[in-house]
C-alpha cells in the first residue's frame, strides 16, 4: 500500500513533544507524531510503553505536562474531551466502554447526539454490521466481546469523526474476531476517515497500517512505513534489544 504522506500538505493531527505523567511516573517522554489525511497510523509497543496514554491524551482524557496537540491547525491541548469529539477526534476506548444499561440502538443514538455532519448514520452502521439491526433492542451488556467492539466502533462512527482513534481493538478478543473487525477497516476508510490506532498485536497492525511508530517506555524507538522497516528492526524497537536500530537511546538521559 502506498503511503499518502508525500505531497499531502499539512498533517490533520500533529503531536509535538508530548510529555505525560501518571503521578511520579513519566508515561510519555517528548513523543511527536504527524498524521496525514487518509492514513492508517499505527502505534505499536509492549505493555506499558505508553501507547494508550498517548491515545487517551490525544482524546483529552489525560492532560499532558508538556507538549502540544494540533488538530487541523487548531491547538487542542487544553480542550475538553467532548469538545474534541464534536470537532472530529473520536476515540473507541480500550475495553469498549459501552453504556451497559442501554440498548445497542441507544448506544448509537448517544454517539449521534452531537455528531458532525457526514456520511455516517445509524442506518449505515447497521449496513456495515449486518447482524446489528435486528438485535438493536438488546442491552449491550448481553453481547459477546466482538459484538460489543462492533457497537463501540459504530458509536464512534455515527459521530462522523475525521480522525478515528482505535485503542487496542484486539484486547480480549479471539484472533478470528479481531481479523473480522479489522476486515471492516477498508469500508470505514473509504468514507474519508483517518485512523490512528494503538495495537499490541504487531502483525495485525503491520497488515493494516500505512505508517508505523513504535514506543518503548514512553519514547519513540522506530518510525516509518511498514514496507520500509524490517521485522528485525521492529523486534528491536519493540523490545529495546538492539541499541543501533532505534533512533534514540532507550536509556533515560534525565532524572
Amino acid at each position: 500500500m502506498n503511503s499518502p504522506r508525500q505531497g499531502n500538505g499539512t498533517p490533520l493531527l500533529e503531536v509535538r513533544d508530548l510529555t505525560v505523567h501518571h503521578g511520579q511516573l513519566r508515561a510519555l517522554d517528548r513523543v511527536s507524531l504527524h498524521v496525514f489525511p487518509g492514513e492508517v497510523y499505527a502505534i505499536i509497543g509492549a505493555n506499558g510503553a505508553g501507547k494508550s496514554t498517548l491515545l487517551r491524551t490525544i482524546a483529552g482524557l489525560h492532560q499532558p505536562t508538556e507538549g502540544t496537540i494540533l488538530y487541523d491547525g487548531t491547538d487542542m491541548t487544553k480542550a475538553r474531551p467532548e469538545r474534541r469529539a464534536t470537532a472530529g477526534i473520536v476515540m473507541v476506548p480500550e475495553g469498549r466502554r459501552l453504556f451497559g444499561s442501554l440498548t445497542i440502538e441507544e448506544n448509537l443514538q448517544v454517539g449521534a447526539t452531537y455528531a458532525r455532519k457526514g456520511p455516517w448514520t445509524i442506518e449505515r452502521v447497521y449496513e456495515l454490521f449486518g447482524w446489528m439491526k435486528e438485535r438493536r433492542a438488546q442491552r449491550t451488556a448481553q453481547l459477546s466481546g466482538g459484538e460489543q467492539q462492533s457497537v463501540a466502533i459504530g458509536r464512534a462512527l455515527v459521530a462522523n469523526p475525521r480522525v478515528l482513534l482505535l485503542d487496542e481493538l484486539s484486547l480480549g478478543l479471539a484472533p478470528i474476531v479481531v481479523q473480522r473487525i479489522y476486515a471492516m477497516l477498508p469500508q470505514i476508510l473509504a468514507t474519508g476517515l483517518t485512523v490512528l490506532l494503538v495495537e499490541q498485536d504487531v502483525s495485525q497492525a503491520l497488515r493494516v497500517a500505512t505508517h508505523l511508530q513504535c514506543l518503548l517506555e514512553g519514547h519513540t524507538t522506530l518510525e516509518g512505513r511498514p514496507s520500509d522497516v524490517t521485522p528485525a528492526q521492529v523486534e528491536a524497537a519493540y523490545f529495546g534489544l538492539d541499541p543501533e536500530a532505534p533512533e534514540q537511546d532507550e536509556e533515560e538521559s534525565e532524572p
Binding site: A59, G60, L61, R80, P81, E82, A85, T86, V90, M91, P93, R97, L98, F99, G100, S101, L102, E106, N107, Q109, V110, G111, T113, Y114, A115, R155, A156, A159
Partner: protein, 291 residues
C-alpha cells in the same frame, strides 16, 4: 376496619414519601451525590411558595407553576457550580458540601423567616374535604391528590428517562461518564439537568407537604430527609418504582405502628428500614431494575 384504614392511609402517605425520595434517588443514581440538603430544599420550596402566595395571591396549586421552575433553575446552577466543584475533588467532598448547604438553608430560614410552623392553606376547596367508606375509613381528597401527583411524576420521569434524548444522555452518563465525553457529551450539563429535575420534584414534594402538614425551618433535616432516605433504601437504589414501593412500605409501617400505639408511628417505619437493611440490603426491588 381500623387496620384497613391504617393501610390505606399508609399507602397514600407513601406517595408523598416517594415524591420526596425520587430526586434523592436520581441524584445518587446519576452523579453519586448523596444530597444531605434534600430535605431542606423541600422546605425551601415550601417557603418560596409561601412567599409567592403572599406576593401574588395565587392559589396554592398555582404556586407550583412558579416555584418548581425556580427550584429547577436553582438546581441546575447549584450543580454546575458548587456541587460540580465538590464532585471534581471527591465523592466525600460532596457529602460535606451538601451538609453545609443543609445547615446554611436551615439557619438562613431561621434568620430571615422565623422558627414558627407554617402551612400552605388550601382555602375552602374540595381538596380540604374527605370522603368515607363505611364508618371507619375516611380518606382526604388531598392525600389522594398527592398520591396521584406522585404517581404521575414517577410515570413522567420514567418516560423522560427511557424515551427522550436527554433521558438517554442521563442514563449514558450514569453508566460511563468518560465514554459519554468521548461521544461529545458534556456530562456537566447533563448533571445539571438531572439536578434540575431533582430540585423541581423536591420543591413539588415540599409544597405537597406544606398542604398536608405543617413545616418549620428544621423540618427538612429532622423529618423529610430521613423519610426520603428510608424510602430510597427500602425500595432499592436507582429504581423509580422501587422508590414508590419504598415510600408505600414506609407509610404503611408508620400507620400500622400508630394503630398499635400512636407513639410507635415513626419507630415502626425505622424498624422496617432496619429489617430491610439486615435481610435485603439491596432493597425490595432488585438492583438496577430500571434506570
Amino acid at each position: 376496619m381500623a387496620w384497613v384504614n391504617a393501610i390505606i392511609q399508609g399507602i397514600l402517605t407513601g406517595g408523598l414519601y416517594a415524591l420526596f425520595a425520587c430526586g434523592l434517588s436520581l441524584m445518587f443514581g446519576v452523579m453519586k451525590v448523596v444530597n444531605l440538603a434534600h430535605g431542606d430544599l423541600a422546605i425551601l420550596g415550601g417557603y418560596i411558595a409561601l412567599g409567592v402566595i403572599a406576593v401574588t395571591h395565587v392559589p396554592v396549586l398555582w404556586s407550583v407553576v412558579i416555584v418548581v421552575p425556580i427550584m429547577a433553575a436553582l438546581g441546575y446552577v447549584m450543580q454546575r457550580t458548587m456541587i460540580q466543584a465538590s464532585l471534581d475533588r471527591s465523592v466525600l467532598t460532596t457529602l460535606l458540601v451538601t451538609f453545609g448547604l443543609s445547615v446554611v438553608i436551615e439557619n438562613g430560614l431561621l434568620q430571615f423567616v422565623n422558627a414558627d410552623s407554617h402551612s400552605l392553606g388550601v382555602g375552602n376547596s374540595i381538596i380540604t374535604k374527605s370522603f368515607s367508606i363505611g364508618s371507619q375509613i375516611q380518606i382526604a381528597y388531598l392525600l389522594v391528590l398527592i398520591f396521584a401527583v406522585a404517581v404521575a411524576v414517577l410515570l413522567g420521569l420514567q418516560y423522560f428517562l427511557s424515551s427522550s434524548r436527554y433521558g438517554r444522555l442521563i442514563r449514558a452518563v450514569a453508566d460511563d461518564r468518560e465514554a459519554a465525553q468521548l461521544s461529545g457529551v458534556d456530562y456537566r450539563h447533563v448533571f445539571g439537568i438531572a439536578a434540575a429535575i431533582a430540585f423541581g420534584t423536591v420543591a413539588l414534594a415540599g409544597i405537597a407537604y406544606g398542604m398536608y402538614s405543617q413545616f418549620a425551618p428544621t423540618t427538612g433535616t429532622d423529618t423529610i430527609l430521613l423519610f426520603a432516605f428510608a424510602a430510597v433504601v427500602i425500595g432499592g437504589l436507582g429504581s423509580l418504582w422501587g422508590t414508590l414501593l419504598g415510600g408505600v412500605v414506609l407509610g404503611v409501617a408508620q400507620q400500622i405502628g400508630a394503630q398499635i400505639n400512636i407513639s410507635y408511628e415513626v419507630l415502626a417505619g425505622y424498624l422496617v428500614l432496619l429489617a430491610v437493611l439486615v435481610f435485603r440490603p439491596q432493597g425490595l426491588t432488585a438492583r438496577k431494575a430500571e434506570s
